[in-house]
């Protein structure tokens, strides 16, 4: 087991390096001149030259990449020209908010999806199954921004039930202190995620139910409830672990549209804006972060499998 973790960690590092390399290379293919973008079109040639010199922009790309890695290893994610702040400080203020939003919707999605998925599997092809399938697919097939805007239109504007803005607090606790403002953004995210999750749960539960040991348990006379709780659920948790692992990086980048619609400046929107204003270091910094988090998410999921299912051997 330990050997497995070490091996996976090693792979994780390689993958992260790969991500940074590709991102770095792609960014340097972009047209436009960083010095030009930062200093503006009015800058004199001397200024441009000075900036280029100072930031090593005229050195070969692998040298620049090496410098970038060095900075990264010292925890320096770069500097934002648009906001005149370090990327670290930007993320420090935005990530907790994203975590609240993403975390809450993940929790709710799981809380709804697991029982619904299991119920669908147990009563397969029944009315509940068809209805839930229909609703899930419907939600899953709508563009996220459409759901969000429709929710706002009906619940904020036509009927002033809920605010149209997410809480504007800079801290996670501050956000939690305004639950009314969290309802619509979290709902928009949850509606879509729970649809995906319940599909997973359903098919996973169906598969598990077909396994021999379930038949054995039933044959032994175990109550249906015990069968479900003890055997089915635990074995289906593997699916859940997969989903959670996959959802973690989405907390940062997948909330982009929600952020824009609900006036909620988070890392996703930050990323988009950085791209639009050629704020390279922010783009790089966030991409690296997403890469690391994705890999970690997979790692956590893999370790979770190993814990849950002793049959898994590496």
């Amino acid at each position: 087991m330990t050997g497995y973790i070490i091996r996976r960690l090693g792979e994780a590092i390689i993958v992260t390096l790969g991500v940074t390399m590709i991102t770095f290379a792609l960014l340097h293919l972009l047209p436009g001149n960083l010095a030009h973008d930062v200093l503006g079109p009015r800058a004199s040639p001397q200024e441009l030259a000075q900036f280029t010199q100072q930031n090593g922009l005229n050195r070969p790309i692998y040298v620049q990449y090496w410098l970038f890695l060095e900075k990264l290893l010292h925890g320096n994610l770069g500097y934002s020209y648009q906001y005149n702040r370090s990327v670290d400080s930007l993320l420090a203020s935005e990530l907790p908010r994203d975590l609240v939003l993403g975390g809450l919707s993940l929790i709710f999605a799981l809380l709804i999806a697991i029982p619904v998925g299991v119920a669908q599997a147990v009563r397969r092809n029944g009315v509940l199954d068809y209805t839930s399938t229909g609703v899930s697919f419907l939600l899953y097939s709508m563009p996220q921004y459409a759901i969000a805007l429709l929710l706002i239109q009906f619940l904020s504007i036509s009927f002033h039930v809920l605010p149209a803005e997410a809480p504007q607090s800079s801290s996670a606790l501050g956000m939690l202190a305004h639950p009314a403002g969290l309802v619509l953004p979290v709902a928009s995210l949850t509606l879509v995620t729970f649809a995906q999750f319940s599909r997973y749960m359903r098919s996973s539960a169906i598969d598990t139910l077909a396994q021999d040991y379930i038949r054995t348990a039933r044959a032994k006379g175990l109550s249906e409830r015990l069968v479900l709780w003890r055997h089915l659920l635990r074995n289906s948790l593997v699916t859940v672990v997969t989903l959670v692992g996959l959802s973690i990086p989405l907390v940062i980048t997948g909330t982009l549209i929600i952020e824009q619609v609900f006036n909620f400046p988070g890392a996703g929107l930050e990323y988009l804006q950085a791209t639009l204003s050629n704020d390279y270091e922010v783009m790089l910094g966030i991409t690296v972060l997403v890469g690391v988090v994705t890999v970690l998410g997979n790692l956590v999921a893999d370790i979770g499998y190993a814990i849950l299912d002793p049959r898994i051997r590496y």
């Binding site: 503006g40 002033h160 803005e165 952020e259």
Partner: protein
């Protein structure tokens, strides 16, 4: 001031100053709108609603003291700089109009009551006195104080000038080579209340007042140091750092660096020294700024509201949603994006008034006359005139902009009405939308026009230099993405162009990319590949408040992106700055530019930002009056019940 961004975020500084001076700097009296040319007033009929335009709002009810005003920053346009000597890359409305000017008042104030005129009541300086053939300007200062007890003196202006002179090109957004501060031969502070400037040339006084003196802001001696650990000077001891050129450059560098740390603004000993009606209480990482009244403000009136909160927004949708769902108690003053113009009545029903007030600006996009491929065609005046005829401005205003803009045919704005402008200078002939006129111009210059196909040059001697036999007209027009009205307009333009055989290839990029692509260049340079770039906005005048052309249309000018070079225009531009009869010279200049179409003019919006349908003001906010130049005077505002 600069390329007016859709959201007021500008990238470069180009102040188009147009001087229309009737008399010697009269203050706020207006000779009324363009009564002369009826054609102009017909086309320039700015839809108005009356309230809060030329007179401050006066809602019924008892006047309250206190209250918080919530104000919308433009989408993605939070302030990122606080030092009043803003350089080109931090030159934006969000920074100066909405932040710096409320804390650090410039020497002179302009634009009150929706007239682009100087207002001495709100200025630190009194009316400037010209002598020595207009070469010497003497300015007397009112008795103001800084919040740390220092008096505002002429030494503060010397401090400003010292730093400006050190390296204006990199430090100052309003810089034009050859003009301020290059044209200042010397300056001095003979006594604390008097500041004297000696110009190198005998300029026209109104031009100087509106264009050059507007670039002065007194700054406290407490800033005259090179690090925070040094003690803050409280008075002039004769050898403060700014007195040497190297020292001034060092002080600038220090202040510039500190200005770029938003996290420190609210607590920094530097930025808390203010002379304006407000000072900064807090600034969040998301860009929300909270300003509170400065009890030591020497001007008047003093602010009666207790707080001014500037709110950041991620998108126009978010602004609108908040307006509709939360209403005037959460947003007191908000700019309304033009796609929501049909909602104005619904918004008025919940307690807003819509102020359709334009800022002194005009909207256009440049063609690259130096592009190696199509530059020769663009350099032909007849082509540009023909192309201008393809813009159905009236049609666009009705269909895409819901009547929230006015047609533009020249560099002098139709609105707000200005006493400095003569009727003849305003876009007097709505550039007629006429595909037949365009066709006529092309065919009379050697082109065989093939509607729906490709128009080709049959007679190169008539077509113009550099155009070959059989050459067609096709180019790429790149426009700002994310704005539906711009997208629709460009689509229509391409369709109209096709009708006279001009093939336009439309591409779209983010605002930032578009403005950094449109640069002046030489045909052989790789930066000269662009052919036409439309960032969907135009120019707002400031900090030079008269619209003249030295920054836009003179060869080599910093904002002459298309490399336009016409001797007649150039001649008129320089004559305007020194003319004795400003009105006449300005008329000639404006008509010249309108006729020669150096850039493609497009409809100019009503509102502080291009693409806005006006500013929404809560009905219970009194004292609000639109400023012609987009400046703000929240010290005038008050709530009523």
């Amino acid at each position: 001031m600069q390329k007016l961004a859709r959201h007021g975020v500008a990238a470069s500084a180009a102040v188009l100053v147009m001087v229309l001076a009737a008399a010697c700097g009269s203050s706020s009296s207006s000779s009324g709108n363009s009564s002369g040319s009826s054609a102009a007033s017909a086309s320039a009929s700015l839809p108005t609603n009356g309230a809060g335009l030329t007179q401050p709002t006066t809602p019924a009810g008892t006047r309250l003291s206190g209250g918080t005003v919530f104000f919308t920053e433009g989408p993605d346009a939070a302030p990122n700089y606080i030092f009043p000597m803003y350089s080109p890359q931090v030159c934006s409305t969000a920074n100066n109009n909405q932040l710096e000017y409320m804390m650090y008042r410039p020497l002179y104030w302009y634009g009150n009551n929706y007239r682009p005129n100087i207002d001495y009541d709100y200025s630190i300086g009194e009316q400037p006195q010209f002598s020595d053939g207009n070469k010497t300007v003497t300015i007397k200062l009112n008795s103001w104080k800084w919040s740390n007890g220092e008096p505002v003196t002429s030494r503060d202006l010397v401090f400003w000038m010292n730093m400006m002179k050190a390296s204006p090109a990199t430090e100052w957004c309003g810089y034009v080579p050859g003009y301020f501060p290059d044209n200042v031969a010397s300056y001095s502070a003979p006594d604390p209340q008097t500041f004297v400037l000696h110009f190198t040339k005998d300029y026209n006084p109104t031009w100087v007042t509106y264009d050059e003196l507007s670039q002065l802001t007194p700054i406290p001696l407490a800033w005259d140091r090179t690090s925070l650990s040094q003690p803050a000077p409280t008075s002039d001891n004769g050898h403060l750092p700014d007195t040497t050129k190297a020292g001034a450059a060092a002080v600038y560098k220090f202040l510039d660096g500190e200005a770029k740390k938003p996290g420190s603004w609210a607590t920094s000993p530097l930025w808390q020294v203010v002379d304006g009606p407000f000072h900064l209480q807090s600034f969040t990482t998301a860009g929300e700024a909270t300003l509170v009244p400065n009890p030591d403000y020497s001007g008047s009136p003093k602010a009666t509201i207790s707080k001014l909160v500037e709110l950041p927004f991620t998108s126009e949708t978010a602004i609108y949603n908040q307006l509709r769902s939360a209403g005037p108690s959460s947003l007191t003053v908000a700019n309304l994006p033009s796609q929501y113009a049909p909602q104005i009545s619904a918004l008025e029903a919940i307690g807003y008034t819509d102020n359709k007030a334009a800022s002194y600006s005009f909207n256009y996009f440049p063609l690259n006359l130096h592009n190696p491929k199509v530059g020769p065609i663009f350099s032909q005046m007849y082509f540009r005139q023909a192309f201008q005829h393809l813009l159905d401005q009236q049609g666009w205003i009705k269909a895409f902009l819901t009547d929230t803009a006015i047609p533009t045919c020249g560099p002098v704005p139709d609105a707000p009405p200005s006493s400095l402008v003569s009727a003849a200078s305003i876009s007097f002939t709505p550039c007629a939308f006429s595909t037949s006129a365009a066709q006529q111009l092309l065919s009379s210059h050697g082109w065989k026009v093939v509607p729906g196909g490709t128009t080709t040059c049959q007679n190169p001697s008539l077509c113009g230099a550099g155009i070959t036999q059989g050459e067609g007209i096709s180019f790429t027009l790149d426009y700002e993405s994310g704005v539906v009205s711009v997208q629709n307009e460009m689509n229509d333009l391409a369709a109209q162009a096709k009708k006279v055989g001009i093939n336009i290839n439309l591409t779209t990029h983010p605002f930032g990319t578009v403005i950094s692509t449109a640069v002046a260049c030489q045909p052989s340079q790789p930066t000269c590949k662009w052919q036409a770039e439309n960032w969907g906005a135009g120019w707002i005048y400031g900090p030079s408040y008269l619209p003249t052309g030295e920054q836009l249309f003179a060869p080599g000018a910093v904002a002459n992106y298309g490399s336009y070079n016409d001797a007649s225009t150039t001649q008129l531009i320089s004559e305007v700055t020194v003319a004795s009869n400003e009105t006449q010279e300005l008329d000639a200049y404006a008509q010249n530019v309108s006729q020669r179409v150096p850039v493609v003019f497009q409809p100019t919006s009503i509102g502080t930002y291009q693409g806005d349908a006006g500013t929404l003001v809560a009905k219970n906010l009194g004292g609000y009056a639109a400023n012609a130049l987009g400046l703000m005077n929240p010290e005038d505002w008050y709530f009523t019940r």
